[in-house]
Structures are given as structure tokens and as C-alpha cells.
């Protein structure tokens, strides 16, 4: 009982209440952890002295699975990484493949992707921020925001037919153009979202109770965050303005005008504020992309060996039939090579390191999962804090079990 896991971290050891140090299991299945995370806390009353983490409860061996799957069939695996923003993962993988085979997709595909990816970012941030509200005792904002998230999921449905595990898009573009209903729904969303979002913002941002609960909860400095390999909103909340969309633009992000919000303290409140502002910026990007949508095709005609031909062509044209067969059976040759491609996921730099030996499946595929890397810092961030702060810190880091465990 008295064996503190982080011996050098027991800053408050001499202030124990009656010398009682207890061990508390936070998780693996606890409503407050929002996923399968186990933290064995050493606590002195309410104060956390140290923590030992266990991860891997939903490990599904995606990297091994990918070594046996044809390239087209890897997209559904990526859905299940960060399932709050699956389209970003899907498109990240598609862009990795496009980089490997050296194809330039039409500008219109880039813009369509940007719209979907930013919608996904909004959905991801809405979940995270509304759950911070729930964990501080404010359930109302959560129900408001899930209504808006539902509208985003309806937009996904219009594009790909699925909601959570989207498998959206194809290597080389989209499976179909945006439907008329999509246009109607997106216009409505763009028009009305801000009003509802502002309502949510008003509920929490300057709320005295919320501020008292979140300011100073789970802080991390910029240097420390960089040392741990933080990326995304959590790093930006600590004051480092690193964003893959700006540093290494992909999918024509250089065409859009948006700002990268940064925080100063790296605590829960700053993470909340950064995500709130990012939602607004994402909305700006979507508006720019939608209003300046270029003319052209919604897929690249240069990759017939990856992009499924239409059924009409399959039944009438020999060449299309051959390609259809090759794609379905996964018999498409790819160049020998090694690619690293990164996109800005909901939680940070989502990278794909692909080694291809020219075969039908990847020789080695590794995902850089931002959650896995920054969740290491969790014990350090909560040491010296209270148990309720630990819960808040976990939800504000937006650790997604699927991405953590791959």
C-alpha cells in the first residue's frame, strides 16, 4: 500500500492525513474514463501522489492485419483508430497511397476532402469539449452539441452511407460526387451551426464554476509537451503553434486562410479554449472550400488500378472488367518504396509510415498515433492534483482508446 509507484513524485508525502496512503483503481471500465483506460493511482486522501498506467485493453493488431490486406482494404482499419474523426484517418491513408503511387488528384478532390476532414475535426472537438462539460457537472451543453454532431454524421451518411466507421473516399478521390441533399444539408449546417455553438460557448467559456474547475487542472509546459511528443490541440494549448496543416500542407490546405489558436498554460481550460477556437477556424475553412469549389472531376482518372470503375463500365467494357477484378482481388502492383505521410488528425499528427516491397500488401505499415504518444505524460500531469482533476485531465486530453491501442 505504501509503495509509491513514482517515488520521486511523492511531493506531498510529508503532508499525509493520518499517514494513510491508499491505492485506487481508476478504470479500466469506469464511466468517467470514457474508454478502456486503467490508472492505478496512489492517493493521499484526494491528492494523487503517483499513477501507473495500463494500456492495450482493445489492442487489435492493426499493423499486423495491414500486412495481409490489399491497399484498398486498409482504409476500414483506419476508421477504427480515432473513431471520433474517422474521415481524417481514411483520407490520411488514401493520401499516403497516392503519394506512394505518385498520383496527383484533381483540385476538386482536395477541396472535397478538406470539407469532410474539417467537419470531422469539428465533430471530434465537439465530443471532447462537451465531455469536459459533463465531467465538470454541466450536462446540458453536451446534449446541445451532440445534436450538432448528429448533423455532421448525417452529412457523412450523404457522402458514404456510414456514420461512425466511415470508410469514406477512395484511393484517387471519392466514390461519388456530393449529392444535392448534401449541398442542402451542408448549407443549412453552415448557416445555423454558429448560433448553437455560440450558445454552448456562452454556457461554459466564462462560466465562473467551469473556470474554477478547469484552470490549473492537469497543466503541462510547452518544453515538456514537446519532449513527450505532444502534437495537435494539446501541444498548442501549451503554447507551441505546430500544426501539420500549416507546416507541411497537404490536400491544398495552403489555399485557405485560417489561424492556429494557441494557449499559454497547457491546462484543461486552455485545451478547451484552443479546441473551441479550432472549431470556428474549421468552419471558416469549410466555408472557403465550399464557396471556392473548383470545377472538375471527383476522382482521378489516372489510377484505374485502384479506383473501382462504374458498374455500367464493368458490364460493357473489357478493360473496366479487368480492373474491377484486379481491385477486388487485390492484385494491383505498387511501386517499391517507403513513405511517411502525416495529416493533422483530431488529436495531432497522425502519421503513416509505409514500407512497400511492391507486393499486394504493405511490407510494413506503422501508424503514428498521437494519443499513444501523449498519453504517457498523464501521470506527470495529474501528480499533485485531485482525483476529480485527473478525470478532467483525461477527458481534456481527448485520449481515444481505439487510437491509443491500435
Amino acid at each position: 500500500m505504501s509503495d509509491t509507484p513514482n517515488k520521486n513524485k511523492s511531493l506531498f508525502a510529508d503532508e499525509t492525513i493520518d499517514g494513510q496512503i491508499a491505492t485506487l483503481n481508476l478504470g479500466p471500465t469506469h464511466p468517467a474514463t470514457h474508454g478502456i483506460f486503467q490508472n492505478v493511482l496512489t492517493v493521499d486522501g484526494e491528492k494523487i501522489l503517483g499513477s501507473v498506467q495500463t494500456v492495450g485493453y482493445i489492442h487489435r493488431a492493426f499493423e499486423k492485419l495491414a500486412e495481409r490486406r490489399p491497399y484498398n482494404q486498409i482504409t476500414p482499419i483506419t476508421d477504427r483508430l480515432n473513431y471520433c474523426s474517422s474521415p481524417i484517418n481514411n483520407m490520411g491513408w488514401e493520401m499516403t497511397m497516392e503519394k506512394l503511387i505518385g498520383v496527383q488528384v484533381p483540385k476538386k478532390v482536395d477541396y472535397m476532402r478538406v470539407i469532410i476532414m474539417e467537419l470531422a475535426r469539428i465533430a471530434d472537438h465537439l465530443v471532447c469539449n462537451s465531455v469536459i462539460g459533463v465531467d465538470t457537472g454541466a450536462l446540458t451543453g453536451f446534449t446541445y452539441m451532440f445534436q450538432q454532431r448528429e448533423l455532421i454524421y448525417e452529412l457523412y451518411e450523404e457522402v458514404c452511407g456510414a456514420r461512425l466507421t466511415t470508410n469514406i473516399g477512395r484511393i484517387g478521390g471519392f466514390e461519388r460526387d456530393f449529392s444535392p441533399t448534401f449541398h442542402v444539408k451542408l448549407k443549412k449546417f453552415l448557416k445555423e451551426f454558429n448560433k448553437h455553438f455560440q450558445e454552448f460557448d456562452d454556457l461554459l467559456l466564462r462560466n465562473r464554476i467551469f473556470m474554477d474547475r478547469t484552470i490549473g487542472a492537469g497543466p503541462i509546459s510547452g518544453e515538456r509537451a514537446l519532449d513527450y511528443g505532444f502534437t495537435g490541440p494539446n501541444l498548442r494549448a501549451a503554447g507551441v503553434d505546430y500544426d501539420v496543416r500549416v507546416m507541411t500542407p497537404y490536400s491544398s490546405y495552403e489555399d485557405f486562410d485560417f489561424i492556429i489558436p494557441v494557449g499559454t498554460q497547457g491546462d484543461t481550460y486552455d485545451r478547451f479554449c484552443v479546441r473551441q477556437e479550432e472549431v470556428r477556424q474549421s468552419l471558416r475553412i469549410i466555408e472557403q472550400a465550399y464557396n471556392n469549389m473548383p470545377e472538375g472531376s471527383y476522382f482521378s482518372p489516372d489510377v484505374p488500378e485502384f479506383y473501382l470503375p462504374t458498374k455500367a463500365d464493368v458490364y460493357t467494357k473489357m478493360e473496366a472488367l479487368i480492373y474491377h477484378f484486379k481491385i477486388v482481388m487485390g492484385e494491383t502492383p505498387v511501386p517499391v518504396g517507403e513513405v511517411y505521410h502525416a495529416v493533422e488528425g483530431g488529436n495531432g499528427e497522425l502519421g503513416f509510415h509505409l514500407i512497400s516491397d511492391g507486393g499486394r500488401t504493405p511490407y510494413r505499415l506503422q501508424f503514428r498515433r498521437p494519443c499513444f504518444i501523449y498519453y504517457q505524460a498523464y501521470p506527470e500531469m495529474i501528480t499533485g492534483q485531485t482525483i476529480s482533476d485527473a478525470v478532467l485531465t483525461l477527458s481534456s486530453l481527448n485520449v481515444i482508446a481505439g487510437e491509443l491501442d491500435a
Binding site: 494500456v55 492495450g56 513527450y228 507551441v240 492484385e331 517507403e338 502525416a342 511490407y363 504517457q376 491501442d405
Partner: protein, 168 residues
């Protein structure tokens, strides 16, 4: 942001480390150097503090297994990123499968902790100096390293499935 090119990075690295840099290539624009495995720690530590390169962000550590490459079967990849210069670099070392050990870089980047454990978990790479080199995603009782190529995804002794026609 300065205009640091891959050639300049390579020249500076070769000037400092000379023959320890065995090989270099640039697949898809990402400079990749192969370093003698016992120099990896020194190289990464130097890159972090070098005032020109400033490669002070560790993006990713990963392994790969090349069973046909005798004496250098296990590959360890380090992706580094200079956020100031916006230049990426991939450093890799090859290790023999009999003794796949390399110095841990946890003293340079604290974030290397879990990534090294993951690489150990899946490829059996021993990171010397790591304080807690145990399995992380797989269960502790596992007695093999599942990402090595000799372990098939499905039971290799099965005879009821014939995948020969599909090149599997």
C-alpha cells in the same frame, strides 16, 4: 524559418559523424540515413542540441523485420523533426536478430518511453538503459514477438484454406 535542404543536413551529418553514416537515400523527399547502431544515441543527442539543425522533436520510433537480410534483420527507425527549420529526418539502424540491442534514447526524449516499449513488444528490440522495458500492448505472458515476419496472421498449419491463387 531557414532554408535548410536535405543536402545541407546530410553534409553537416557527414562532417560530424563521418563513416558512422553507412548509407543515405531520399525516398519521397524524406532524407533517410543509416547509422552504425552504437552511434544512434550520440547522433540523436547531438541533433537535438545542434544549433543549425535543431532536430528537437521525436515524431516516431518504429521497427521493421527483414528476415532475408542476414546480420541486419531488425531495423529500428527514428523519425525526427526540426520544428524550427521544418525539416524531417529518418534515422535508422540495423541490428542482428541474435542480439537486437540498441541504446535507449529515453534520456534524450522522455516520449521515447512507450514507443521503445512498443518496439520491444512487437519486434523484440532490447533498448539498453530503458528503466522499464516490458510489453505494452500485448499481454505479459506472450513468449514471441508478433510483428516479426515468421509469425503469420493466421495459423500457418491450416490446410482448409488455399490462398495460392491470390498470391498470399
Amino acid at each position: 524559418m531557414s532554408n535548410l535542404t536535405n543536402e545541407m543536413v546530410l553534409a553537416r551529418l557527414q562532417e560530424k559523424f563521418g563513416d558512422a553514416i553507412r548509407n543515405h537515400e531520399e525516398p519521397y523527399g524524406l532524407l533517410t540515413i543509416e547509422i552504425q547502431s552504437d552511434k544512434t544515441h550520440d547522433l540523436i543527442a547531438w541533433l537535438k542540441t545542434d544549433e543549425v539543425l535543431k532536430m528537437s522533436f521525436l515524431t516516431l520510433i518504429g521497427g521493421a523485420h527483414f528476415p532475408n537480410d542476414k546480420g541486419r534483420e531488425i531495423c529500428v527507425n527514428y523519425h525526427l523533426h526540426s520544428l524550427v527549420n521544418n525539416v524531417r529526418l529518418r534515422v535508422r539502424a540495423f541490428l542482428p536478430i541474435e542480439n537486437p540491442s540498441i541504446q535507449s534514447i529515453i534520456d534524450i526524449y522522455i516520449g521515447a518511453d512507450w514507443q521503445e516499449r512498443e518496439t520491444y513488444d512487437f519486434f523484440g528490440v532490447i533498448f539498453e538503459g530503458h528503466p522499464n522495458l516490458t510489453r505494452i500492448l500485448n499481454e505479459d505472458s506472450m513468449d514471441y514477438f508478433p510483428m516479426r515476419k515468421e509469425y503469420h496472421l493466421e495459423d500457418a498449419t491450416r490446410e482448409d484454406k488455399d490462398d495460392r491463387y491470390f498470391g498470399r
